[in-house]
């Protein structure tokens, strides 16, 4: 052995000695603390403390495994893996409990962050029963008076809540009509096909169960599909021509479609200066 190696060995041994002294000191310190009950374990470890202790030990074991792998040594039959599996199972079992506690934990964290609870906080979850009592005393008084005089005006019974239209101006009404026409025009088959072609999402095939049109629509779809595949056109029989004509009489003319589409291009109805 050369002198260099001897000096190196001596240095390493002294380093080992000093490090072991530090370790023993740390362990004694911890033991003293645990025995003097500085860590409160009387009620058992709390749920949250267990959770982060488990996470920490999981991380430690994981780093050990990755260290072994990076050094090239095998990790087969390593007890670390069993420990990892055990910790993982426990964490999985803890997850549903965690989910149930989530709301409470979030609230506590929020109060800690904001620094105090506000008594008028709307999230202080307790229903106020006084708000649920209806003020029945006033109604019973007025009824006795009302019986004597009967008004001649007919007031329809108030069954459901209705939208109040009294404050709408003429402009608002026109605008609403325009918006509705726009919405209807945007969902015509023409634009729907355009949208299908240029959108990047997948094509949707929707199963509709409209019994009236299902057979006719299915037949029509089959026919168009065949026509497009084979680059030919079927001749329309007299019966089919008649059927198409029936539907035709519902829609008036070619011009109709164009007028139908016009709302899309009309910008907002000009608002009167207020």
């Amino acid at each position: 052995m050369s002198t260099e190696e001897i000096t190196e060995a001596v240095n390493l041994l002294s380093a080992v000695e000093s490090q072991t002294q530090d370790v023993t000191k740390l362990v004694d310190h911890l033991l003293k603390k645990a025995t003097e009950n500085e860590y409160n374990t009387s009620k058992g470890i709390s749920f949250l403390e267990l959770k982060y202790q488990l996470l920490l030990s999981y991380l430690m074991n994981l780093t050990y495994i990755s260290l072994q792998k990076s050094q090239g040594s095998s990790i087969q039959d390593d007890p670390t893996i069993d420990r990892l599996i055990e910790i993982r199972t426990v964490l999985e079992k803890m997850r549903p409990i965690d989910k149930k506690l989530k709301y409470q934990v979030d609230k506590v964290v929020r109060t800690a962050a904001s620094g105090g609870t506000d008594s008028s906080d709307p999230l202080r979850y307790r229903a106020n029963p006084e708000n649920l009592i209806s003020k029945l005393d006033d109604e019973s008084e007025s009824e006795s008076e009302g019986e004597e005089k009967k008004s001649k005006i007919y007031h329809p019974p108030k069954l459901t809540a209705m939208h109040y239209e009294g404050d709408e101006t003429e402009m608002d009404k026109d605008q609403k009509v325009l918006e509705r026409a726009k919405k209807r025009a945007l969902s015509t088959s023409m634009l729907r096909e355009l949208r299908e072609e240029f959108s990047e999402g997948p094509t949707e095939i929707r199963e509709t169960t409209s019994t009236q049109r299902s057979r006719a629509e299915r037949k029509l779809r089959e026919r168009t599909h065949y026509e497009e595949e084979n680059f030919m056109r079927f001749s329309v029989s007299k019966k089919d021509k008649g059927k198409k004509g029936k539907k035709a009489k519902q829609i008036i003319s070619k011009k109709f479609v164009y007028d139908y589409m016009k709302p899309i291009f009309v910008s907002n109805v000009a608002k009167s200066p207020d």
Binding site: M190, E197, F231, K254, K255, V257
Partner: protein, 132 residues
């Protein structure tokens, strides 16, 4: 591609190497106007696909109910020779490349009836001249 108010879009494009052509479905959008004639569709397709319009054959245009949209088929051949080879005669006739001689229907029926009266190879001779 739009000119005036007509837009042409093509769908289901396919290059048919066996028949030396490109075939597609042609959608014409013409809101407020009548169906665009085939010659105009040919011009526009020629511009889109950078060929001459004489190798383009379009047919089968049907206007959707209510107007505004027409779908048809379009074929673009690699060359006019291939077109003459593969296209059916009636479509070539539409472009004026082939003349189909048509005897009138009445003439054909009369010839058939004359043939009925004769047996065997004499049938061929019968149609040669109109009797009386």
């Amino acid at each position: 591609m739009s000119e005036g108010a007509a837009t042409i879009r093509t769908r289901k494009f396919m290059t048919n190497r066996l028949l030396c052509r490109k075939q597609m479905i042609v959608d014409v959008l013409h809101p407020g106007k009548a169906t665009i004639p085939k010659t105009e569709v040919r011009e526009k397709l020629a511009k889109m696909y950078k060929t001459t319009p004489d190798v383009i054959f379009c047919f089968g245009f049907r206007t959707k109910f209510g107007g505004g949209k027409t779908s048809g088929f379009g074929l673009i051949y690699d060359s006019l020779d291939f077109a003459k080879k593969f296209e059916p005669k009636y479509r070539l006739q539409r472009h004026g490349l082939v003349e189909i001689k048509k005897t009138g229907r009445k003439q054909r029926k009369e010839r058939k009836n004359r043939q009925k009266k004769v047996r065997g190879t004499k049938k061929a001779k019968v149609g040669a001249g109109k009797k009386k």
